[in-house]
């Protein structure tokens, strides 16, 4: 009986030593995973996921707090990339957080804008320029299409315009194989 106790105590001590040492030796600082997740997120900073930006959402995913299907701008491919990175099952996007929309940019109707700067303060990427009492303009190439500027505008002069397809941004389509001849 005593022998058994002794054996278990010795075992526990040994393992405790080894593990205690390695806990110090292999201590992990920070969470490199957050950056990897953040790199996948589309950086629209739109907050549709329920977090105040992409980075906070990435942190929430890394800590297991948020699910991977809360990012409509990233859409299905983004969700798949996250599932791939984290080794979890892909799941359909959560409709609570909105539907994926075609990529758009905000456009300010220059004739209506009163220059209140509310949209400038709302823009997460400083893509709107202008000053108080002066009309504001969106820098199209920097707009992420997050729509955060739409709601604050007191005169509803901001609209989201889908980016039109041009020769310069045109993409080849997924081949469609007609199945009508099969039968």
């Amino acid at each position: 009986m005593i022998a058994a106790l002794l054996v278990m105590i010795v075992l526990a001590l040994l393992l405790g030593l080894v593990l205690g040492y390695s806990a110090l030796r292999f201590k992990v600082e920070g969470d490199p995973l957050v950056d990897k997740i953040d790199a996948i997120l589309p950086q629209t900073q739109c907050g549709q996921c329920g977090y105040p930006g992409c980075k906070p959402y990435a942190t929430a995913i890394a800590s297991g707090e948020a699910d991977i299907n809360q990012c409509p701008p990233g859409g299905e491919p983004g969700m798949r990339a996250l599932a791939d990175l984290l080794g979890v099952e892909p799941k359909p996007l959560n409709a609570e957080h909105g539907e994926p929309k075609p990529k758009s940019t905000a456009v300010i109707d220059e004739n209506l804008c009163i220059g209140c700067t509310l949209c400038i303060q709302a823009c997460p990427v400083d893509a709107i320029l202008g000053a108080a009492k002066h009309m504001h303009t969106v820098i199209a190439s920097e707009c992420t299409g997050c729509e955060l500027c739409v709601a604050p505008c007191p005169v509803d002069c901001i609209s989201m315009v889908p980016i039109p397809e041009k020769v310069s941004n045109w993409k080849w389509r997924y081949p469609v194989i007609e199945l009508k001849q099969v039968a």
Binding site: P77, D126, L129, E165
Partner: protein
Amino acid sequence: MISTLFKFHGGVHPPEHKLESAATPIVEVPLPQRLVLPLRQHVGNVPKLQVAVGDHVLKGQLLAIADGMISASVHAPTSGTIVSIDEQLIPHASGLPDLCITLQADGEDRWVEHRALEYRDLPKAAVLEALRAGGVVGLGGATFPSHVKLREDAQHPVRTLILNGAECEPYITCDDRLMRERADQIVRGIEIMQYLLGAERCVVGIEDNKPEAAQAMRDACRLSSIPIEVATVPTLYPGGGAKQLIKVLTGLEVPSGKLPTEIGVQCFNVATAYTVHRFIHHGEPVISRVVTVTGKVARPGNFEVPLGMSIAELVQAAGGAAPESTGFVMGGPMMGFNLPSAEVPVVKATNCIIASAPDLFPPLPPAMPCIRCARCADACPVNLQPQELYWFAKSSNLEKARDYHLFDCIECGCCSYVCPSRIPLVQYYRYAKSEILAADKAKQAADLARERNEFRLARIEREKQERAAKHAQKAAGAKADVAGDEAKKAAIAAAMARAQAQKAEVVPQNTADLPPAVQEEIAGIDARREAVNEEKQEN
């Protein structure tokens, strides 16, 4: 005295169908009434407009000037009036419209003042600049601006200049006819290219199914002041691909993602050499080209066509399309694309127009699943594994596709051609490539957005701290300060002055360190804003 030839992996032998159009000489088509000139006729930046609606221009006059290094100018193919500058359908696989200049010919066909260039007396940089202004681009189909390729590079000196007269695609014979009829002029162009590049060796590669062209070139080369070899290479599609031809003639492989200059080789189409000659020795910019019109037309042949002429008119010149014809393909049957309309203009890339019909290009039967027979891998000139690429592209596993060297694919169509399951493999690769490129772009945009967001957050944080510090200072100051009205007044005056100054120069804080393009955009927006403001004030 042809040096040894080498082989590239794979390749196919599709039926050639070259005899139909190769038999007759090049015909100059009558000048059309209306010419549509897309600004985007080459790889690179869209050139900047130099004319406005209503302007009268002369033949060869500059309409749009090259913008930046990789760009090419556009010139008027005849004299006339600019009637509109708007979006019109262009010959592009997307079938989308793009900015075009429409020119109404006045029928006089009067030349702008132009003269030959004594290129040996000028610095090479000036000659290249002239070529850039002359709108000279590769006429083999890629339409890459030629002046970029003719630049001497100390790091990668060009030892071998290769002229591509292989013309491996079925149906196309424009280079064949050009070599037969204007070999001497092509050789003049080669001499200029050789001079500019300082190449030690010049080789013209011609497939052995064009003996007349090879003979004509050989005769012309004999008269040249520099030694030019003419090599007949075995007919094997895609032997006319630049990388394939370089491999066949020199045994060297262009490293993936690099330019041929990396291995001391530069390659041009023979038609490009011809246009270089026309521009340097006659001062004529690129305003016309030779186009093969074949397939279901009454009189297949080759035509010297002013750029901007509509395909419909060109086909009329070839006797019109047969009634069973259902559409037009630009380029060859292996790599060409379907034109969105017969009204699109001839552009610098238009080497061939095929009037197609279901019996000429039968629709593909429904695709069977891939049986992994690897016939495509055997046929691939780049030695890819098309069946794996297909698998990844089909399941949109784009990262894997990239890992399997999708971007080395030249879209030659050999894999689709041999596939027993009739899978449109190339279509999958095109899809995967453009998806990946779009994703890369999105990624760049996301990185930029992240940076800007982080900057903004840092700025807000900093401002908050500054405010807090100010508050603290004020609180401390209020306690200590028991000074008289003078000081207060002075402070108020100072504050007002500050406010005034601020009002005077409302500098948006976030316009610093923007790329010039965006700065310009902003400038444009500001101008517009001014205009609106003035308007408002007037009202």
